[in-house]
């Protein structure tokens, strides 16, 4: 565990060196930039609008950061040969991969926490309102970003960065439309190979729409504890599965 955490810590330090944490300033600017667009209705509607766009923006930033952090982590280390200095030490490939993943999660957690704080401050400053419900929305964004990071990291054990970005974008899209588009196509009774393909996609891909709680956060009702636990379990399950698939490839890969 010690080595896993050391590797995770290093990912966070590397993100800091690459100035990835500056993204929180961009986020703050984006929310500030959008806030003049607030409708001039009553306070409740304005709060709902601000919470909604804030969480949507957090989701966008979270997903992009998950991909940016994951996509080149392993190919970069292999190209730069920094990986040799780690794996020639008593560090297993599983420790290495899990350490990298935990480092990505740690970085995402820091970035999203600051973003949550920014939303709280901005909503408080604009509407004199304390809305801790946004924390539930940011947590859901984190859980979704964790799945995407796991998918992208797993893919990075064998795919180049451009292919990974494309595949992760496709994954993100399919996982968001599966309950709508894919389900509809399955119900329409497409036949043959197309049906098998859609069936596989429908049942194997996670439903990322489950993590979309911007409406509940917008209305201020938030999510129930049981729902929060369910999406947390869902995120852990799929993240573990993608990291494990990545490990199966990585453990026999020549470096």
């Amino acid at each position: 565990m010690r080595n896993t955490l050391l590797i995770a810590g290093n990912v966070i330090k590397d993100a800091a060196r690459k100035k990835l944490f500056y993204v929180v300033f961009l986020f703050g600017l984006a929310v500030l930039g959008l806030s003049p667009l607030l409708p001039t209705f009553d306070l409740g509607v304005r709060a709902q609008f601000l919470r909604d766009i804030s969480i949507s923006l957090t989701s966008l930033f979270g997903v992009v950061m998950a991909v940016v952090l994951s996509v080149n982590l392993i190919p970069g280390e292999v190209d730069m040969r920094t990986i040799y200095n780690i794996l020639s030490k008593p560090v297993s490939r599983a420790q290495y991969l899990v350490g990298k993943y935990l480092g990505i999660l740690g970085t995402l957690a820091i970035i999203l926490s600051v973003m949550a704080l920014e939303i709280l401050i901005l909503v408080g400053a604009r509407l004199s309102l304390f809305t801790p419900v946004v924390l539930e929305g940011v947590l859901a964004v984190f859980l979704e970003a964790a799945v995407i990071a796991a998918f992208s990291l797993g893919l990075s054990t064998f795919a180049s960065a451009p292919i990974n970005v494309f595949a992760t974008a496709l994954f993100y899209l399919l996982c968001h439309v599966k309950t709508g588009f894919l389900h509809q196509k399955l119900m329409e009774g497409a036949g043959g190979l197309a049906r098998v393909f859609m069936w596989v996609l429908y049942y194997l891909l996670p439903n990322l729409e489950d993590f979309n709680v911007s409406q509940q956060v917008g209305y201020g009702s938030g999510v129930t504890l049981s729902y929060a636990l369910r999406i947390a379990g869902y995120s852990i399950l799929f993240s573990a599965m993608f990291v494990f698939i990545g490990y199966l490839v990585f453990k026999r890969r020549d470096l």
């Binding site: 590397d14 800091a16 040799y84 200095n85 794996l87 020639s88 008593p90 020549d254």
Partner: protein, 311 residues
């Protein structure tokens, strides 16, 4: 021939990679066997693309052989327990650029579970050893190639390893740096460590290695103790001072090879003719500098091994 004490023992290792657009397989190592005994400096030599780096990667579990097996420090290839007891310097090493030299050594040391006190003392000593200022706040992305090489050597020694594997240890170093690293390696051997180095620097290998394996096209073509490989059995080398072209010509019938070098005549004679050659030299009024078993250079041996050139 392997023995139970061998620190490294590879048997019939074959490793191929897929290359090119059609992913055709190319063998980097073909049925290679290698044994490295304890307490010696062992040189792995070969031309570019001979399979040296692949062999080291297989030893370290960074690449997986298609066939063959082996042990390092008595453990299977890539075993973490063996990694606890070895150090590795990759060719042209790179490090996390955001770390200082001291922080990098501490990171690598912590991967071995070294406690803070031991790590602090050891990293300070190693930085001194490789000539890097320990209080430097310069991050590694600002280091020159030679300085990175020095850090690479220091990190390979952070766990006080029994076996040190180095891929081109002198790469990027100036002559002074190369001399310093040679001294470090000799010091490690004095401490009972085993060192396996891959190198293109034949003079470096000749001056410090006890044994070598020369590999070409993924196979061992020559191996053995350096003194045995370089000694020409039954031939004596006599070095004489003084004389000119005429003296050289007078000695030529007794010698298999005569050459002049900076005022000296160096002649190789059959061991049975050594006394007659010395008498003749005395008659010619030449001064005796040395008499020793004839040796060929490692370069001659290397060229003979990889190109079939004789001296």
């Amino acid at each position: 021939m392997e023995t139970p004490d061998d620190v490294v023992d590879l048997r019939d290792i074959t490793k191929s990679y897929r290359v090119g657009f059609r992913h055709a397989r190319r063998e980097a190592v073909s049925g290679l066997s290698l044994s490295v005994g304890p307490g010696q400096i062992f040189g792995l030599l070969g031309p570019n693309g001979a399979g040296k780096t692949t062999t080291l990667k297989v030893m370290l579990g960074l690449a997986f052989p298609d066939a063959g097996e082996g042990t390092v420090l008595g453990r299977p290839l890539g075993d973490r327990e063996a990694h606890m007891r070895l150090g590795f310097l990759p060719e042209s090493p790179y490090f996390y650029g955001f770390l200082t030299a001291e922080k990098a050594l501490q990171l690598y040391g912590r991967l071995f579970g070294l406690d803070a006190e031991v790590l602090s003392e050891r990293s300070a000593r190693l930085l001194d050893l490789v000539g890097i200022p320990r209080e430097s706040h310069l991050t590694l992305d600002k280091y020159s190639k030679g300085m990175l090489q020095r850090i690479g050597i220091a990190q390979a020694l952070i766990n006080d390893p029994e076996l040190v594997i180095m891929d081109e240890p002198s790469s990027g170093l100036d002559p002074l740096g190369q001399k310093e690293i040679r001294d470090v390696l000799l010091g490690l051997r004095e401490d009972g460590k085993t060192i396996l180095l891959s190198s293109h620097q034949l003079s470096e290998v000749e001056s410090i290695c006890d044994s070598v394996s020369i590999i070409d096209s993924g196979r061992v073509v020559i191996e053995g103790s350096l003194s045995e490989l370089l000694t020409e059995p039954g031939t004596t080398r006599i070095t004489l001072r003084g004389g000119g072209e005429a003296a050289g010509a007078a000695l030529a019938p007794l010698a298999t090879n005569v050459r002049r070098d900076e005022g000296e005549i160096i002649m190789d004679v059959a061991a049975d003719d050594a006394y007659r050659a010395l008498e003749k030299a005395s008659e010619l009024g030449l001064g005796l500098v040395s008499v020793e078993p004839a040796r060929r250079s490692l370069e001659d041996l290397f060229l003979e091994a990889v190109r079939g050139d004789g001296p």
